[in-house]
Subunit: 209 residues, 2 copies
Amino acid sequence: MSHTLGVRQAQKQQSRRALLDAGLLLLEHQNLSSLGVREVTRTAGMSPAGFYRHFRDLDDLGVALVEESLASLHGMITAVLAGEGDAEQLIDRTVEVVARHVREHRAHVRFLARERHGGVQPVRAAITAELDAFTVEVAAALGTQEQSAAWSQADLRMLSGLYVEHLVSTAAAFLEAPGDQPEAEQRIAATARAQLRLISLGRLHWPTA
Amino acid sequence: MSHTLGVRQAQKQQSRRALLDAGLLLLEHQNLSSLGVREVTRTAGMSPAGFYRHFRDLDDLGVALVEESLASLHGMITAVLAGEGDAEQLIDRTVEVVARHVREHRAHVRFLARERHGGVQPVRAAITAELDAFTVEVAAALGTQEQSAAWSQADLRMLSGLYVEHLVSTAAAFLEAPGDQPEAEQRIAATARAQLRLISLGRLHWPTA
DNA sequence: TCATTCAGTAAACAACTGTTTGCCGACTTT
DNA sequence: AAAGTCGGCAAACAGTTGTTTACTGAATGA
């Protein structure tokens, strides 16, 4: 689909990427609301004025980061949920997918966790919107499982909300674990799996009207 | 227990309170990492240098806010969990307590949600520590319930972790709802209750070794 | 009563901030 | 090859920032 941009567009996108990467790097240890334009351009190797060729605001850059942060996760989880296997296997795969996603996109996930309730309204709104859309997707995927075929739409939303919330907090827990210590990661994964198993039991005995 | 402080100590505490309140007010719309000493002292009606008579840092002020933010919640929930009544009643009371706590301590709760994954390490550590302690308390309270008398320590921790995480995200959801619209609050409460009921079902059928 | 303590102040410091301006020079289109 | 587009830059703007300094004056304790 990439239409082989002209040299000019390519260079511009490269600069834009540099700005996004610089932001992502700096946001590892601070909040978006304390980030500075000069700070970002400095670590991106660009003059301060150049920033405004790409973004209106730092909020604008933040919203762009939200979009690319959740892009990859969307499909992965829904694919797992639509996959075959019993509940136990789905749980194992889900937790493994989350763990890998955090490992491979640490900075993005940290950014999301940090700004989800952060002080920048547009970014907060963008994250909430993406997460809501994700919840709807999960609800749809759950609806196709035979286990919850007879569930009402409202109950499916309730359940998918619980799952998404659990997924987010599991990701946050993985973040907290130091990246070089796999035993902590294993402990978090084991707890997450047990919690999902308990929820699964609840599902099994949920009274369908 | 208040030992009728001398006039001097009383005035100092009053100023300290003014600083904490100013911080809390400003943190409603921004992050701790972007808060300024001058900003705080200005809205507290004090000279910038005065700040340092009370706190070393803004991080220091942040940690103080963490402590007073979680002080009240501790007892409330554990009291509910240790109370009488069937599972359904405990769920109703729990959600009601959380809703009221958010209503009455909006600024504190917002601060906790915002800084839990925020950019200021000492504050993040303080919140994590308090929340861990809270999880242990909940696990102990759950252990006394007949429903989970035969559970292992590890499983109790797993379950209380799930409960605390759910409580936190419910509180965050209440925060998002506009304070003047009680119908949104009711919707969130209903969802939270349903999710707790589902977890309760899972508990009931959890295999005890 | 007199000396001491100490919360709060005003002023100064150098360093930093976001944003606008006019400009240059490389790419693009005609 | 000429004209136009436009990403990036240096410089300047008026603010803001954290922190230290020496000080004042009221509460304290002898």
